[in-house]
Symmetry: C2
């Protein structure tokens, strides 16, 4: 496991406490938080950090390929430190977003190529359904 310090140096990012906190938190969670959620979660430890800084850090991470942006259709973005292409699923009842890690859909790009004039480079796949917890309630 590469350290955050090394990862940042590799991408030529300055090692600021704020950036480290944002990235570390994203690495530690599977919840695909929004900028607002990240901001609120880090608030206790970084009471002076502003929401704008969170957004700037996230956009920088996306640019250098350390983080991917999700849009499940809520009207805001969520962030995932797993940049490997993988589908996501959202519970339409509680709203949580999970990874579907064991399925890779990159081969879909080739399959669909026959049906379009585009050169396909990537995809984003979202499933919607009802999670285990919500089914039992």
């Amino acid at each position: 496991m590469k350290s955050i310090t090394d990862t940042f140096k590799e991408k030529k990012l300055k090692l600021t406490p704020q950036r480290i906190a944002v990235y570390k938190y994203l690495k530690s969670t599977k919840e695909h938080p929004s900028a607002e959620t990240i901001y609120r979660t880090l608030q206790p430890d970084f009471p002076t950090m502003s929401l704008a800084t969170v957004y700037k850090a996230l956009n920088t991470f996306v640019e250098v390929g350390l983080v991917q942006e999700l849009n499940v259709g809520e009207g805001n973005f969520r962030y995932d430190s797993n940049v490997h292409s993988h589908p996501h699923i959202q519970c339409i009842t509680c709203g949580k977003v999970d990874d579907i890690d064991l399925v890779s859909l990159t081969e879909l790009n080739n399959k669909v190529s026959e049906f379009t004039d585009y050169t396909i480079l990537s995809n984003k796949v979202y499933f919607y359904g009802i999670c285990k917890d919500c089914k039992s309630n």
Copy 2:
């Protein structure tokens, strides 16, 4: 082909000129316009219609299942009167969004079911690439 009048009656929607214009326009285009684009396009014929009315009409259509909302990750929504589940593709150069009509990905839901505890109900699939026009330029 069912008339818009009949379609609206079936869904118990009042037949207002504004709603008819919005839905008719959506039916006539393959461009997956945003609310703003719809508003601007209808402006000449409906100069008094407000943007809020466009949004309210669209949200009503989505609720009754006459229109689907897309979010390719631009920070706004686009609308599609083809409610049949089908993937979309966006050109990362010019930004246009096309349908991929000949491919249905509903069987994906079953395939992915094995890898999750969710009951999967639907999916949204977006491809990204370079369109024919942009490739030749």
